[in-house]
């Protein structure tokens, strides 16, 4: 046990934990963005609501989700410990400003990470917590005519407080009743302040991962003449451009749609 502690309490061990948890969180972003693209499908939230229901009721995903929350906490706590140690390592700061070639994002990971932590807390309490542990989110009933394939939706008020989801077929009409997270998303994203906050947070994701993704590989010791440029390319274009843009597009598109209603 003491050797175990020695390994993970060393400065390199702490950075190893930062790198591994960080990369795990990166893989989650891909899945999260992929699923949330359902928000862009024009089906009155049917696909998105079914997806949200699946995520919260499929045991393997729930296990991975708790691993994810643990990773967020560990990543944040370790960064705090490392930051405190790093500050201690330079008790008197320089008077002259250093104009070194180090990138802005690499020097401001703590600031960017703090914005992200604040974002995650607000984001999870608004959607995840409300969805799982409150009755603030209503239900919707989707009726699909199997002959024509047309779907209509109406709000649905369940008889029991424990109601989660139902699916049945009557007279060639499929009736699906599910929690309407989509309505919650739409109402949140009609608030301009909220949208601005989301876009800023996605900017923080972009800059955090612009440095963080490739830095994690360096920390792990995986530097390679051929593959490091690939890692940097993925870190820049996928994690610092496509993924933040994809996420930022959701509140922006929903806000614009809310103006037209």
């Amino acid at each position: 046990m003491s050797e175990f502690k020695q390994t993970f309490n060393s400065s390199l061990g702490k950075k190893l934990i930062m790198a591994l948890t960080g990369l795990f969180l990166c893989t989650f972003l891909i899945v999260h963005l992929g699923g949330n693209l359902l928000l862009f499908s024009d089906d009155d939230g049917y696909g998105f609501n079914m997806y949200a229901n699946f995520l919260t009721h499929f045991p393997p995903i729930e296990v991975v989700a708790y691993l994810l929350y643990l990773c967020i906490l560990v990543h944040a706590v370790y960064s705090l410990i490392l930051t405190i140690q790093n500050r201690k390592a330079r008790p008197v700061s320089y008077a002259a400003v250093n104009k070194s070639r180090a990138s802005w994002s690499s020097k401001n990971m703590g600031l960017l990470g703090s914005i992200l932590l604040l974002f995650i807390v607000i984001h999870m309490s608004d959607f995840w917590f409300s969805y799982k542990y409150s009755h603030k989110i209503g239900f919707k009933e989707y009726r699909t005519d199997l002959a024509t394939g047309k779907t209509t939706s109406v709000d649905y008020v369940p008889a029991s407080a424990d109601f989660e989801k139902s699916a049945s077929t009557e007279n060639n009409i499929e009736i699906v009743r599910v929690k309407d997270l989509h309505a919650r998303v739409a109402s949140s994203f009609s608030n301009l302040l909220y949208v601005v906050f989301y876009v800023i947070a996605m900017g923080a994701v972009a800059f955090h991962l612009l440095h963080g993704f490739q830095s994690a590989f360096r920390t792990l010791g995986w530097v390679h003449r051929k593959y490091t440029p690939v890692v940097c390319f993925i870190g820049t274009w996928l994690f610092a451009v496509i993924i933040p843009l994809g996420f930022a597009a959701m509140p922006v598109v929903y806000y614009i749609q809310s103006l037209n209603k």
Binding site: N86, A102, S103, V223
Partner: protein, 265 residues
């Protein structure tokens, strides 16, 4: 020698009596400085005038003044060893600055490098890291033939590049976390890459990292400031090499995996 080009400069120099007292900046005029002087020669001139005035001269470290000993330091206008790349302070010439310029001179700032006096800091933390594992044990016996052990040229070159580290501490001074990772990794790599360094490769990296942590240096954030400021252009690749060896040593090596192998140590 022409005197027409001589410069008048304003120096803001960090003066600190010893590690226990608080320091502060003191402003000095450096007048009639030749652009051909090195930065240290300029300080010599200022010190002479201070001595004439019965003032305490500015203390700063220096030795070979040829850029190879690693003794000079100085954080000049926000850069270790001044604004130019790949040189030490002793190789920095006053022509780099312009007439009338104000130059801010600070010591290396790190908890692990306490100020001895003024601009001189105690870098014996680096010595202790070296003593922890930065060596190769050589058996006595017959004299081996030269080049008896074949070493691929790329490996020899890379090991030698890492070995050019002069241990000046500019990496620590440049790093926002005052991390010694570039220094330690260069010392670990220069031996770990060569056949002669193999027997102690994994115990060395653990011992040197443990000593680095004990000295109170910060952690690496991969900002790259160290590589940019290193007078010997040591590469950050060394840091990844060291991390690789360290994690390997801690997790996958024989002595890390099996009790009976570890007990021999």
């Amino acid at each position: 020698m022409s005197t027409n080009n001589n410069m008048n400069l304003t120096l803001k120099v960090w003066r600190q009596k010893n590690a226990e007292t608080r320091g502060a900046f003191v402003t000095y005029k450096a007048e009639g400085i030749s652009p051909d002087m090195s930065f240290l020669e300029m300080l010599d001139v200022v010190n002479e005038s201070l001595i004439h005035k019965q003032d305490e001269p500015i203390h700063f470290d220096h030795d070979c003044r040829e850029g190879i000993c690693g003794m000079c330091s100085l954080y000049i206008n926000g850069h270790p060893h001044g604004p130019k790349n790949a040189i030490t302070t002793c190789q920095l010439h006053m022509r780099t600055f312009h007439d009338g310029e104000t130059i801010v001179i600070e010591p290396w700032r790190a908890a692990a490098f306490p100020v001895i006096k003024d601009l001189a800091v105690d870098r014996s933390a680096f010595d202790r890291i070296q003593q922890a594992g930065g060596f190769v044990s050589v058996n006595t016996g017959g004299v081996p033939d030269a080049n008896e052990i074949a070493i691929p040229k790329v490996i020899a070159d890379e090991a030698f590049n890492s070995a050019t580290c002069i241990g000046c501490g500019a990496c620590v001074a440049a790093c926002k976390n005052a991390s010694a990772m570039l220094f330690v990794s260069a010392k670990v790599t220069q031996l770990g890459m060569l056949p002669q360094g193999q027997p102690e490769r994994y115990s060395r990296v653990q011992a040197m990292v443990a000593q680095m942590d004990a000295e109170g240096f910060g952690s690496c954030t991969n900002t790259g400031a160290c590589e940019a400021e290193c007078p010997k252009e040591i590469k950050m690749t060394n840091i990844s090499r060291m991390n690789n060896d360290y994690f390997s040593a801690k997790l996958f090596r024989e002595e890390a995996m099996h009790e009976h192998a570890a007990s021999g140590e």
